[in-house]
Amino acid sequence: MRTFKVLLRKEFLQIRRNSFLPRLIVAFPVLIMLIMPLIMTMDVRNVNVAVVDLDHSATSRRIASHIRASEYLSFTVATSDFQLAMKHLEKGTVDAIVEIPSGFERDMAAARPERISITANAVNATKGSMGMQYLVQTISRTLSELKAEKSPVGAAELITVQNRFNPTLNYRHYMIPALMIILFILICGFLPALSIVGEKESGTIEQINVTPVSRFTFTLAKLLPYWLIGLFVLTVAMCLAWAVYGLTPEGAVGSIYLGAILFILTISGFSLTIANYSETMQQTMFVMFFFIMIFMLMSGLLTPIDSMPAWARKITVVLPPRYFVEILRSVYLKGATLAELWSNYLALGIFATLFNTLAAVTYKKQA
C-alpha cells in the first residue's frame, strides 16, 4: 500500500512538473467546449439568394421582402436578367436563384400560375438542399399569407411538426455530448499510453522492473491519475455546457458518471495495450491516431450510425465509444435512465474488462 502511494505521488509530481501537461488538462476542455460548438454546426446560414423578378407585382415584392427578412437567407442580387443571376451563381457570389415568371400574380388569381423556379448550387450538398428548403418554406409561407388575406377562412394547416428532446433542433445540443467524448478519448486514451512508453524510452521502466514492485501496482498507479483527470475534465465540460450553452442533463448526473467511469476504464485499457506493443512515443501516437480516427468517424459522434450502410453499422458494434455516445446523448437530451440504457452499460463493462485483461496479459516484466 505504501508502495502504491509512493508511485501515485511520483506520477502526480511528474504531471505537475511537466511544462505542458497541466496547461493542456485545463485549457483543452475549455477550448473545446467554448469554441468547437460554435464552429461545428450543420445549420445552414447566409444562403445568398438572387431574385430574378420578371413579374414586378405586389406578390413578387412580397416574396423578395420575406427573403430579405429571413435570418438564414441573405438577399444579394435583384435583377430581371436570369443570365446575369446565372453568372453570379457560377462565380459563387450567389447560392440560389429564385425566378418569378412574368404575370405570376395575375395567373395565381386565375389559379393556373406558371411556376416559380429555384436554381441552387449544390456543390455543398447540405447547403444546397437545406438552402433550397428554406427558400421553399419562405416562398410558400408568403403565398399562403397572401391566400389567407384574400379568403379570411384560410387554408387550415395540415401538418404540425414537433421536435421532441431538442425542440429548437439545436445542432449544438447534439454536438456537446460528442465533444465531451472526444475530450475523454484524447485525455484518457493518449496520455497514459504516452506516459508508459515515455518510461520505456527513458529506460526508467527497467529500473522499476528490477524492484519488487508488481506490474499491477505500477500500472494502476500510472492509470489512476488519468482516470481522475478524466473525471475532472468531464465535470469542467458539464459545467461549461450549463454555463455557456444552458445545456443540463435531462437524466441523472450519476448515470453520466457511471458511463464515464466505464468508458475511461475501456479507453485506458485500450491505450495500455497499444503502449505494451510500442517501443517509442512516435509509434504509440501513430497507432492511437489510427484508432482514434475510426472512433471519431464511426461511433456516431459526428454522423448518425443509423444513416451508415449496413456493413458499417455492423462494425460499429465493436467500437466502444459508440455505446458511450448513446448513453451521453440519451441521458443529456432525452433523460434516459440506467434501466433503459442497460445494454450500453453492459457493453462498456465488457469492453473495459476485455481491454484491461488484454493489457495485463501483454505487459511483460521479462522478455
Partner: protein
Amino acid sequence: MNAIDIQSLSKRFGRVQALDAVSFSVGKGELFGLIGPDGAGKTTLFRLLTTLLTPNSGTASVDGFDIVNDYLSIRSRVGYMPGRFSLYPDLTVEENLDFFAALFGVRARESYDLVAPIYKQIEPFRKRRAGKLSGGMKQKLALSCALIHRPSVLFLDEPTTGVDAVSRSEFWDMLASLQQKGITILVSTPYMDEASRCDRIALCNEGHILGIDTPNDIVRRFDAPLYAVRASNMYALLSAARRIEGVAECYPFGEVHHLVTDRGFDPSRFLGQLNELDDLSIEPVVPTIEDIFIKWMKR
C-alpha cells in the same frame, strides 16, 4: 555458496546469439569484472541476471536464487545500475532516492550509512532535478539508488562509460569500499585499464567467455614474446612487419605497434630486414590485458 553461479547460459535475439553457453561463478564479496568490447553480450548477461530477460537455455542463480523461478526474491536483493542513466530526470536527487527506497520497502535513512560516502558528494544538490546533474553526479546518484536497499549483489553495467578519467578513478575507489562492506560486485567495462582494479576478470567477446583469471595471472597466460616497435612511418611499418618471417602478429597499440613473435625471433635481425624504414626501434614489453584479449579473440 557462490554469489553468482552461471551454467551454460544462452540467449538469442532472433538470429543474433547474444550469449552462447556462458558459464562462470563469482564468489561472495568478490569484485568481478566483465571486460569486452561493445556487442560482447555484457548487457545481455546483466539483464538475464537481474531477471529482466529469461534465458533460452542454461541456468543461473544469484545469491542462491534461480533467475527464472525465484526472480522475485532476486529483485529485492540485487542492485542494478544500467549503462544508460535511467532515473527520473524530472524528480529531484532527494525524490529519486526516497522513491527507490520506498519501492524496496525501506526508508532512505536506514541505509544512509551505506550510501553516505557516495551520496554526501551530491547532497548539496539534493533539491536539483536529476536531469540537470552533470555526468559524474548522475552516476553517483544512480549508484546511491542502486544501493539504497542494501543489496547483497550489485550489478554495474559500464558505469564508467562517458565519465572523465578522475571521476572514473574515484568511482573505482568507491567500489573498493563497497566491497569492504561485503557486497559482491559484478561490473562490466570496455576499458581494459580498469581491469586491474578487479579481483578477477572475465574477458568476453561475441557472446563467449575467452578466459577468466585475476588481472595479474591473466597476463601471465600470454605465452609468446612481445615487442613494441616504432618507426617514423607507422603505417608502412605495420604492413612491412607483418611480412617478416617469425612475426605471428603485428597490431597498432597506442603510439607503437605490438609485435607477437615465435620463440626463435631475433630482434636485431628484424631491424636489419627493415632497414629501409627511418627511426626504426624495437624493445621487449610486458603484455597487458589488451594484448591477451587480442590474442584470445583471434584464437
